[in-house]
């Protein structure tokens, strides 16, 4: 274990050193290959231009290589693999897609994903907005915000253990040690095995993600609320608007853009939700979602890259509109510079 720590530290230092060395060395080489002689103005300016042409690519090189190898190429390869059989060796046309359409588990996953998409982003945004408004009005608001924001630092697996303990069910006459069942029992209900309760178990899993992500929505929306120009609210107050009206008719419309950003960010996260389902139910009791089904097929029976690729592509397709919107938005911003 000690040797592992030492080697890890060594690797960190070596890695940083190699990275730095690359940038430094490539810059040196550039200066040697395209020298700038003091006595020859023409060749000096030509070489300066050449350096300016090459240098961006030296700076960008490592990043571009990583992006292409780990993201661009795999997207293309996954698309191609979706037309091949389980080993990726034989072309099977649309067979994997046909399989997906008829597979009960796949349909279940789509249904559950839609459920997640309908509930989680809305709940997070709503709670986030409410908490942002409330905490902005009290002196200990920042402490409250910190506490609500904290689950964001907790891993999905850790959060799953935390919540599994809340949902814990103990049979027979044993004392209920799960908080939820204890509460249910205290108010006269009978304890349930929450995570295997058909259909509703999805919502118990969603609660975990809402618990984690509400803080994120709160932080962003709180900043947006603070950015609202004071005059607009003053004017509404003078016109005799109530607090409720000011919130819905003056404040919310002005932060509409930020709400959209929060919503889409959480939507993307929900589409990729994997750890929570894996650790809570592993897709049992009709809780399967696409990311877990995809992982399952990657390794099930030695792995089926074709079917797995189809499922990944569905997730990708769902993300694509957001991606296009983001790119447009970024282009617009750069045009404005």
């Amino acid at each position: 274990m000690i040797s592992q720590i030492v080697s890890a530290v060594g690797v960190v230092i070596a890695g940083v050193f190699v990275c730095a060395l690359y940038y430094w060395l490539s810059d040196r080489i550039l200066q040697i290959v395209f020298p700038v002689p003091v006595d020859n103005v023409r060749s000096a300016s030509v070489n300066l231009n050449r350096r300016a042409m090459v240098r961006p690519w030296l700076f960008l090189g490592p990043a571009l290589i990583l992006l292409v190898v780990y993201l661009v190429y795999p997207v293309v390869a996954t698309f191609i693999l979706s037309f091949y059989d389980r080993s990726g060796g034989n072309f099977v046309g649309l067979a994997n897609y046909r399989w997906a359409l008829q597979d009960a588990q796949f349909r279940q996953s789509i249904f559950n994903n839609i459920l997640w998409l309908a509930v989680v982003p809305a709940a997070c945004t709503f709670f986030g907005l409410v908490i942002a408004v409330l905490t902005d009005r009290i002196w200990w608001g920042n402490i409250a915000k910190s506490l609500i924001f904290m689950p964001m630092a907790i891993s999905f697996v850790g959060a799953s253990v935390i919540w599994k303990f809340i949902y814990e069910y103990r049979g027979g006459s044993e004392t209920q040690i799960g908080l939820l069942n204890a509460i249910v029992q205290a108010i006269g209900g009978s304890p349930q095995v929450w995570i295997s309760l058909p259909f509703w178990n999805n919502f118990f899993l969603m609660a975990i993600l809402i618990w984690i992500q509400t803080g994120f929505a709160m932080v962003i929306l709180s900043a947006a609320l603070r950015g609202i120009p004071e005059e607009t609210i003053e004017a509404a107050v003078i016109d005799g608007a109530s607090g409720w009206q000011i919130f819905w008719k003056i404040m919310v419309p002005q932060i509409w853009g930020t709400i959209a950003v929060v919503w889409t960010t959480i939507t993307i996260l929900v589409l990729k939700v994997f750890d929570i389902v894996l650790t809570m139910t592993n897709g049992q009791w009709n809780t399967m979602v696409l990311a877990n089904l995809m992982f399952d097929w990657m390794f099930r029976g030695g792995g089926d890259s074709g079917r797995s690729a189809v499922i990944a592509l569905i997730i990708m397709a769902a993300v694509t509109p957001i991606m296009i919107w983001n790119i447009r938005q970024a282009n617009k911003e750069m045009g404005g510079h």
């Binding site: 940038y23 571009l64 910190s146 994120f216 919130f247 950003v261 960010t265 993300v319």
Partner: protein
């Protein structure tokens, strides 16, 4: 005065706001508090009572055997056995007792209970009992079930157990080995790229920025299959394991790269043009400008991203499972916790202590560097809106 401050004067009464925020905070905190408290309790107590009773003491159900019939003495018409139910065991306070395992709280302590068959049993709070019958006792000593209140007690034993015998200690080191390089390497690479995209003119710049923005949202799932195939082929070709730390460092670096470049470019392109121009006029090369001016000035953005990346790599399960494998020595903390959930389901003393060890590092990072985290979030999100 902020918008919220002016709303303060109109909307809901103050008190309601305070109370509702307090309630929300408690709801948000309770889940984490639950495992924290549980991780310090003894296994027996965890299953005997909810963690919320930990500070008031738990009611534990235990069994005891009363004295053998041979120890009975005759008092008038009755035969009596007396003694203490705590003989040879630890003490406590008896709250209730019963003669059937299903009903350990049938009778209140201190009051004589008619347990049928002409037998009367009294068990006092201090454990002493009087067991009498109107006929001679037969068979073995009677078994009784007790509900014993034990004083609150806490232990660090669970942590010792999981750190040594459950492999959590090893996984902790593995997690660090994965997360630290996977945080530092992408920052360096992304910072150089962000500088090039901000302050250097070259054809295709806009295209690369669009590519980076597009790649931010590409789901990890799209990359897994081809990369796994590629790693296996490289491993086979060189005759080494396809699952290595170097492999996962590069994977994490690449997956964090689009967001890193985007965040850093937003920041670096906003630095004042005069500083960079004047450095150029003074004859500094781009490399020098980057190292001596850009890097120090971009510290807040670098800090923001490194917190993101650290939290993300430390908390990641999927990438580690695919690229590092699930062997016992290779498990990172999240993987180890996931494995324990399978093998130790219901053993909450193990699970809660392990869970707390996995979340303690990110929580420290979170509270120490929250400012930078918030700043990074705002830079990454509000800008798009």
């Amino acid at each position: 005065m902020s918008a919220a401050a002016s709303l303060r004067r109109i909307g809901l009464p103050r008190l309601i706001v305070h109370v509702s925020v307090l309630v929300i905070c408690i709801i948000w905190l309770i889940p984490t508090l639950g495992i924290l408290v549980t991780s310090f309790r003894e296994a027996g107590q965890i299953t005997a009572s909810g963690w919320w009773t930990a500070f008031t003491g738990a009611a534990e159900t235990s069994a005891a055997r009363l004295g053998e019939p041979s120890t009975a003495r005759q008092e008038g018409p009755n035969y009596v056995i007396s003694g203490s139910v705590f003989e040879g065991g630890k003490g406590g306070t008896v709250r209730a007792f019963g003669t059937r395992v299903a009903a350990p709280t049938e009778f209140t302590a201190g009051q004589p209970a008619d347990i049928g068959n002409g037998e009367t049993l009294t068990i006092n709070e201090d454990g002493s009992y009087t067991y009498s019958k109107n006929a001679p006792f037969e068979g073995r000593g009677k078994r009784v079930y007790l509900s014993v209140a034990t004083p609150p007690s806490f232990t660090t034993e669970n942590y010792r157990t999981v750190l040594t015998s459950q492999g959590i200690g090893q996984s902790f080191v593995n997690s660090l080995t994965v997360a630290v390089p996977a945080t530092i390497i992408p920052i360096l690479i992304a910072a150089f790229a962000a500088y090039a995209l901000s302050w250097m003119e070259f054809p295709g710049r806009a295209l690369i920025i669009a590519l980076v923005v597009g790649l931010i949202v590409v789901p990890l799932q799209m990359s897994l299959i081809p990369l796994l195939k590629m790693y296996n082929e490289i491993g086979n070709f060189f005759g080494v394991s396809s699952r290595s730390y170097a492999g996962i460092w590069l994977a994490h670096s690449a997956f964090g790269m689009p967001l890193a470049i985007y965040l850093l470019r937003n920041y670096i392109s906003g630095l004042p043009r005069e500083i960079i121009e004047s450095a150029r006029v003074d004859g500094a090369s781009d490399f020098e400008i980057f190292v001596k001016i850009i890097l120090p000035l971009s510290f807040p953005a670098l800090a923001s991203f490194s917190i993101f990346q650290f939290l993300w790599t430390w908390n990641d399960l999927l990438v580690a499972m695919v690229f590092l494998g699930t062997g016992k020595d290779q498990l990172v903390l999240t993987g180890a916790l996931n494995a324990l959930l399978g093998s130790m389901g219901g053993k909450w003393e193990i699970l809660t202590a392990s869970a707390f060890i996995t979340i303690v590092v990110p929580i420290i990072v979170f509270f120490a560097l929250q400012r930078y985290l918030v700043r990074g979030l705002l830079a990454g999100s509000v800008k798009g809106g």
